[in-house]
């Protein structure tokens, strides 16, 4: 039996030069092993990741210089100890992938094949049981498929959590033809890469899900709307569509059943608002991507005024599993109201940043501290921002909150498409609100007055507060503006845009007041309100801060101690992140 090396070739690992590692493997190519350049394997922070089969050996931070040693030792059935995953606290080493704490708590349904197959190979996907769902679906009656999705309780993974089955039913019952299928792959949240990894790692699962949906609702034409900033996703999807057509899994007479369906890729030009369904459809039509009032659903009048089924990438990826395993089995996972699993991109100040898939109802604590491995440098946890830029910040008292659509909403955040940004005590919540408001202000389409004008004013006030120009009157204005934008805006983007502001105001009002009254930023982020100092008691005189300072504002005193010269300091916080003894105070 041949040994199989699975090397992660997704964006994160490519950033760590996994391409060079792959080239090295090809250079040393021998008969006894195979090498695959796969989609995202999850633990992006420790890339490039390499798995060895059989044996499920898990290597991390692999460099091209390690390849020779890996090959040599694997042939002798030995391990390369230094490349194994090591817990930074207990110093324990893990050999097998499923033992690594990061993977242990995860339930992989959608990402089942991600990281195990070559995304460009349709045969790999079929070998892993791919397209079996479609084959089964084609033997069923369309109404039974719709019924199965309804029964499964699958909720739209794009953010709103609208029951997918109800959309399917509406389009199925729609009288007009033609009907269209759209897959929303316009993932624009900063710090989110779930849909991207899925489209890059397993493009066929999306195509399969869409084809099943098309058969169920009676459509012959589908679109995938992908942003052009995802070139690998576009390429892999194009290759996937091409291969599927060749194999008779797309196009005319799919599986010999006489059913006809084809998919086109539409590349988005990167406007965040085009992730909103009505704006997305305008964009496909070739018009300016601006949302419209949605009193008439897309299932009645969508693309070109025809009934349209629009779902997120991840929603479609759930479909083959549901069809194959039945709604009953699907409902066993997750919570009663939010069944199934959810993919999150866990980023920020967390040790094991990466792509994870967990059952709905997993608590934030499990996600951040068990899968994520806790906060970097053991700093205290402050908040987690879920749901992308228009999500809210959840403070530490809700760490035991089970993550599902409704419970997140109850604490003032949203599920969104699944971004999760972890923050520690070095993150200023006013600055976080300012940052996300700036993003949303720039991405607002400018059609309706509350979102266009309101966000600018919110941003101006927040900027003022972070620069020490705030007044208590500003807090009243912010609250008023936030509630106004949320109630009066036209589309979902506007209505959820004040979430970062309102949730930080709700949970971290003290910090706002600190900024305004005491002119002090507790996190040491807002430059005007911060002053860095070296705590002589804690300082070990190691000189790390001295080296890290980009403007030479740290001087060595005669007794070997270090001192920050305030006039030269630009308050970048580099010394603080360099110090391993928490000796820099602010």
């Amino acid at each position: 039996m041949k040994t199989l090396f699975l090397l992660c070739g997704d964006v994160g690992c490519r950033g760590y030069e996994s391409r060079q590692v792959y080239d090295k493997f090809l250079e040393l190519k021998a008969d006894w092993f195979d090498i695959k350049f796969t989609g995202c394997q999850g633990l992006c922070a420790n890339g490039p990741i390499l798995q060895v089969k059989p044996g499920d050996i898990f290597y991390q931070k692999v460099k091209s210089s390690d390849v020779f040693e890996i090959l040599e030792k694997t042939q002798k059935n030995e391990l390369v100890e230094r490349l194994l995953y090591t817990d930074s606290e207990t110093k324990k080493r893990y050999i097998r992938t499923d033992q690594v704490p990061f993977y242990k708590k995860q339930t992989k349904i959608i990402l089942r094949t991600n990281g195990l197959i070559n995304p460009k190979s349709i045969d790999d996907y079929i070998a892993m049981g791919g397209y079996a769902g479609l084959k089964k679906a084609l033997t069923l009656q369309p109404e039974n498929i719709v019924d199965e999705i309804l029964k499964s309780g699958l909720r739209g993974r794009g953010g709103g959590g609208f029951p997918a089955g109800r959309k399917w039913e509406d389009v199925f019952n729609a009288f007009e033809t033609p009907k269209y299928i759209i897959c929303n792959g316009d993932e624009g949240d900063p710090g989110a890469f779930m849909d991207r990894s899925l489209m890059e790692g397993t493009p066929h699962v999306v195509l399969e899900g869409m084809t099943i949906a098309a058969f169920a609702v009676g459509s012959n034409e589908g679109f995938i709307y992908v942003r052009d900033e995802y070139p690998i996703a576009v390429r892999n999807l194009q290759k996937g569509i091409h291969d599927a057509r060749k194999k008779g899994l797309l196009g005319e007479n799919i599986f010999g059943s006489g059913f006809q369906f084809d998919i086109k890729i539409k590349r988005g030009a990167g406007a965040f608002v085009c992730g909103e369904s009505s704006a997305l459809m305008r964009s496909i039509e070739g018009k300016i991507g601006e949302p419209h009032e949605k009193h008439i659903h897309a299932s009645e009048q969508g693309l070109w005024g025809k009934p349209t089924l629009l779902n997120n990438v991840e929603t479609y990826a759930n479909v083959p599993y549901i069809i194959l395993n039945g709604a009953k089995n699907y409902k066993k996972m997750g919570t009663v109201d939010s069944p199934g699993t959810k993919v999150f991109s866990l980023v920020g100040k967390v040790r094991n940043a990466g792509l994870i898939e967990v059952e709905m109802g997993t608590t934030l604590r499990e996600i951040i501290f068990e899968i994520g491995g806790g906060i970097v440098k053991n700093r205290p946890f402050k908040a987690v921002q879920t749901g992308g830029p228009s999500g809210g910040c959840i403070p530490s008292e809700y760490l035991d909150l089970p993550v599902d659509f409704d419970s997140l909403k109850a604490v003032g955040s949203i599920m969104g498409s699944g971004g999760m940004i972890v923050m520690d005590d070095c993150d200023c919540m006013v600055e976080v609100a300012r940052y996300f408001t700036k993003f949303l202000m720039e991405e607002s389409c400018g059609k309706c007055a509350p979102c266009r004008e309101g966000l600018v004013q919110v941003y101006r006030i927040l900027e003022g507060i972070t620069q020490g120009r705030g007044s208590l009157e500003d807090l009243r204005k912010l609250k008023e503006l936030g509630e106004y934008i949320a109630s009066s805006s036209l589309c979902g983007l506007g209505r959820s845009a004040p979430n970062p502001l309102l949730s930080t105001l709700r949970y971290f009002e003290d910090e706002y007041i600190d900024h305004i009254k005491n002119k002090y930023c507790v996190a040491g982020v807002c430059k005007v309100l911060t002053k860095f100092e070296i705590n002589i008691v804690k300082c070990t005189k190691c000189g790390l801060c001295f080296k890290a300072c980009p403007v030479d504002a740290i001087k060595i005193l005669d007794d070997g101690c270090y001192k920050i010269i305030e006039e030269n300091c630009i308050r970048c916080g580099e010394c603080r992140s360099a110090c391993t003894f928490n000796a820099i105070r602010w």
Binding site: M441, E442, G446, C448, A449, E480
Partner: protein, 256 residues
Amino acid sequence: MVEIFINDKKFKVAKNTKLLDTCKKNNIYIPTLCYHPDFPGFAGCRLCVVEVRKKNESKLVAACEYPIRSIERFYTESEMVKKSRRMTAKLLIARAPEAKEILEEIINEKIEPEFDTLNVQNKRCVLCGLCYRLCHKQGTAAIYTAGRGADKVVQTPYKDANEDCIGCGSCVAICPTGAIRMIDSNGKRALWYHQFELLKCPICGEQHITNQMLLYEMQKTGLSETELSICPRCRREKMGQEMLRGICHEKIVTVK
């Protein structure tokens, strides 16, 4: 037919009627800015918001686009509605301080400016979108919005003279705040980076129509050049005379 309540008064309306149309019909004033009956479906200004009250929750909807489908209670002058309208007006004034009077007129209230003025060039434009929607509706499509968010402006492509502009001035006429500049002088019309030559009315000699406009209208209506180059006032006069002549002629015929 659906029964609804507007400000606790019962009304019966056909299903899918827009709420604004119902209100207008029944003389209930709702302020609008971006709404125009000929090109609906925009709902951008949010001045026409109305409260929909359900058992224990209220939400705001834009009356111009809200279809009436079931029994609902609407409030057009509640505190929530007024607060929202006031805020919209305040924010729009921060963009367009010179549009203060017209906004006060629309929402029937004095507005105290609360926010700092934005640094935009046009101090009158509130981005209601009437001008470019009209331009598209009439088929010329010379102007559209450029940029997004707060940087959005109504513009011709690349801020340059656009071949598609016929210099009709419809955008100027429809603008509620007078934000678009058009200058007619010395037989020339300046509009949207263009200098249009104005043609003379063959009867009175008034310069009233641009050459491009004339060609466009000939193409659209199929009328002759001489007919279209007559200015509106002379045309009315001419038509009146013709009608009069026709009536007289008829009389003469009947008398006989």
